[in-house]
């Protein structure tokens, strides 16, 4: 690098920096005295409620003018009611937010008839990731460790919520490993699935990371459950690697590679990976309404970024969110595009798989 080009780069950088600072001073919303409504398309009792309740008071502190931030629950039709409602709103003054979840993304990706919303219209200001861990009763985990085909004749029971929701990620994974898993539908939350496992009625289960740490880790300690694999996490190049929260656990990719029946390439793998990416690394996102101007997006992006910079952030967020990236700005944009687009082949594959395995027709 020559001196001149170095200086030019420096000058551009300084100018850019100056411009951003100037922008920050001049064009930010002032929300003093306002009430920011954060719509959560689920009931007060779910994981999204916990996530939003965690962020709401912090957001109120971080936003210019310290507006009151209230979480408004609008449950219905697997979160599509609330999302459709939000789609109907257009940007006014930056006092309406929407928090979507994997259960909002999947119907959108699968072409569910209830979906009347379009993610492309909504600017994203935060993307929260998570991971998932599959676990087994200790005896079965041992048998599998000795021989990856040992469990192929077992009748597995899995407490499931809905095949078109996040459950499709573990269900497809187990099928790829050659297991015969029968989902028992109708549980009301993943916690009920864990309870079913603890009662010995279900003998295979998965939990998202924070629920695994609080609910299953004690079982592992007591010797009644054995972790099997984590779904993994994405590295900078979009490869699936070990989940940093569980560095000692193999990722699903490793388990799949070790199995004689599972392949880490081809349509099935691509479909699984696409839906995993849509459901976990960017599971929950915060959006502004359609038509939000630059300054509003910048205001909220900065607010969430400053929450992440709090010195006590790691400590206070661990219990509520787990150790996962909370992305803002360009990172959130990329996470959003990963989470709301799947290749056509993947979509077609999953739709066909849902129909063949569960008779579910989405039209």
């Amino acid at each position: 690098m020559t001196l001149i080009s170095f200086m030019r780069a420096g000058a551009i950088g300084a100018a850019a920096l100056g411009a951003t600072t100037a922008l920050a001073d001049a064009h930010r919303l002032d929300l003093s005295g306002e009430t920011v409504e954060w719509i959560i398309p689920f009931s007060e009792t779910g994981g999204s409620a916990r996530w939003a309740n965690f962020y709401a008071p912090l957001l109120s502190e971080a936003l210019p003018g310290n507006p009151t931030v209230v979480v408004k629950f609008m449950p219905g039709a697997g979160s599509t009611t609330g999302a459709n409602h939000f789609q109907g709103l257009s940007y006014e003054d930056g006092t309406t937010l929407f928090g979507s979840s994997g259960s909002t993304q999947f119907p959108y990706l699968l072409g569910d008839p209830r979906v009347r919303y379009e993610y492309g219209d909504w600017p994203v200001v935060l993307a929260s990731g998570t991971g998932g861990v599959a676990y087994l009763p200790p005896a079965m985990a041992e048998a599998y460790a000795a021989d990856p085909t040992a469990l192929n004749d077992e009748n597995f029971i899995y407490g499931a919520q809905s095949a078109t929701g996040l459950d499709l990620v573990p269900l497809l994974a187990w099928e790829m490993l050659g297991l015969n898993v029968e989902p028992v539908f109708g549980i009301e939350g993943r916690g009920d699935g864990r309870l079913m496992f603890e009662r010995g009625e279900a003998n295979i289960d998965y939990q998202t990371s924070s629920s695994y740490l609080s609910g299953v880790a004690p079982l592992v300690e007591a010797g009644t459950a054995t972790p099997w694999f984590s779904f993994g996490a994405l590295d900078g190049d979009g490869n699936i690697v070990r989940d940093p929260t569980f560095p000692d656990m193999p990722s699903f990719k490793e388990v799949c590679e070790a199995s004689p029946v599972c392949e880490t390439s081809g349509t099935t793998w691509d479909a699984w990976k696409a839906f995993f990416v849509a459901g976990f690394p960017a599971q929950k996102m915060v959006f502004l309404a359609n038509g939000a101007p630059e300054e509003a997006v910048a205001t909220f992006t900065e607010a969430f970024a400053s929450i992440k910079d709090r010195p006590d952030y790691a400590e206070i967020s661990e219990a509520a969110l787990g150790l996962y990236p909370q992305l803002t700005g360009a990172g959130a944009e990329r996470a959003k595009s990963d989470a709301t687009s799947v290749p056509d082949e993947a979509r077609a594959f999953v739709r066909e798989w849902l129909q063949d395995s569960y008779g579910i027709v989405l039209e």
Partner: protein, 675 residues
Amino acid sequence: MDVLATALPALGDAFGMILQPHVMGYLVLGVLMGLCIGVFPGLGGIAGLSLLLPFMFGMEPLTGLALMVGMVAVVPTSDTFSSVLMGIPGSSASQATVLDGFPMAKRGQAARALSAAFASSLFGGLLGAAFLSVFILIARPIVLLFQTPELLMITIFGLSMVGILAGRVAIKGIAAAGLGLLIGTIGQGSSAGALRMSTFDMPYLMDGLKLVIVGLSIFAIPEIVALLRQDKAISDRRTIGGGWLLGIKDWWTNIWLSARCSLIGVMVGVIPGLGGSVVDWIAYGHTVQTAKDKSQFGNGDVRGVIGPESSNNAKEGGGLVPTLLFGIPGSGSMAIFISGIALLGTGNIEVGPSMLKNNLDFTYAIVWLLALANVVGTLVCIAASGGIARLTNIRFALLAPFLFMIIAFAAFQSRQSIMDLVALFGIGFLGIMLRRFDWSRPAFLIGFVLASPAERYTNQAYQIAASRFRRSFEDGIDYIFSPIVIVLIIITIISVYVGLKNAKNIMAEGDVNAGSKRAPLLFLLVITAYVAFAYVNASLIPDYARMDRVFPVFVATVTLVCLAILLVQMRFLPDTHSLFADREAQDADINTHGLWSTLAWFGGLLLGTAIVGFILALAVFLVGFIRYRAQKSWVYAVAYGAAGIVFICAMAWSLNRDFPPGLLQQFVRLPWPLA
């Protein structure tokens, strides 16, 4: 001994933690806030806790817990006010209290009923806490014994309470329960997501109807309308002085009943998945079954208040077990409680399997905070009951618009859609008709509440059992017929037998004379048409979703058989038979207003809301009702309307809620609360 060695020091620590002035202060604050919300029908722990959540962040764990526990604990105590005084179940926990509590209030014994209820609540809460202190240490393996077949049997046991509450014509009661079950299956099936009695174009019904709306519609609306038509005060007698001492004496005489019902409350509360919405019915059923003289139940037997009220506070304690030990909320308010705990302090109290090991002192602190909150709440309620009981002496036409406003507001919290109000009105009309023709409303409600667990557990148990049978026959049999299941089957059979034997004597809703044949027959035909339609609708569900078809088809078939028997009986029985009960004929002399003119007021409010939004419509409704229906002066009416609007706005503002918008709001931008 090992258990005691860890428990006693933790128990001591817990008392040291909670018996501090500032902790007690926050507890009292929580209790007072809970009372202010809990006295209004339909608003309970969920609304109250949502109000507290924003303050929980980073709060000192103990004070935050005291605030939240105080709020949760007092709701099943304070909701007794509207159950007893107005005949409106304040929350799902005190539905059964209405059956005997309200008739007592009508007889001028409101204070007696209230104090008996509060004494029972207090006792239930304390006994529940004492039981839990020991039980929580050994609860985990016991709770895990309750697998899906056991849960299914408990649900069926709950359904067997219909036998007690069926009314004079048992088949009619069963049909009412069947209708409740069918209405409970409306919406997406839990197994395969097939739609029952709903379409994608009507998203409201896809999620089914919510208990708060159905509970209010079935009990509150018919009661409000009936009282309005008679146009007098709830109680035509002056309150008997010193009634509240009598109530406590009543409780003391029935202390064993109270103790048994408390234990029922704790035990049903402990089992995750059932929630507490049937515990009061089970307690009521138990009270009736074990009573020697059953003739007064439904007409104001104080034991019918003591039983359910002892159980519903104890249930809150029981509900802590699945919440704290498994991290699985036993109810909606417990779910918010969990997320509240996660916000406290540095978030280091982890609800779930590690709670007992790491935070036994906190666990005990929560249990005993709950007990203390019960004491404080009861004292406040008893102190307030004398004054509040006087509400029953006010002319009801002055009370009704206000009550209706609160109920509509509470119903609207369910989905924040104007359809909430339509549902309230529609099911309310069904409730009026059920009341008129003496179809058991408790049976209907039990059916509705248990529809979803009954279907879910049936499907799940069937699926899991099939998998066990594939493994081996013994495996399957062991799974279905565990010792607990067998015991529950025996209890259920006894309960049904005793229930049906006595059902004729128990008139849960008082005696109703027979009228002519025509109106009861017409109503029966309408019900039959609905059930037949539901049958056809469910039977059209395609094969791949058959799990969602079996239950509604089965229930509809049984109900249709009952309805057919009733039709045949109607053909042959004389029109004086109790089958033709018709309250309209019986109350003809005391009704000063017609049904339709009374309903028109509420229909008008609904229509007005659809056009100009809730607040504007409400203003017109309040002023118009007081001026024209209650015949007060314009000044009085406007003042009443203004007070009502200010009150509801203050409530909505503090709870961060909006009001239903109408057509007007689509065209014109209006400031809150109009928009």
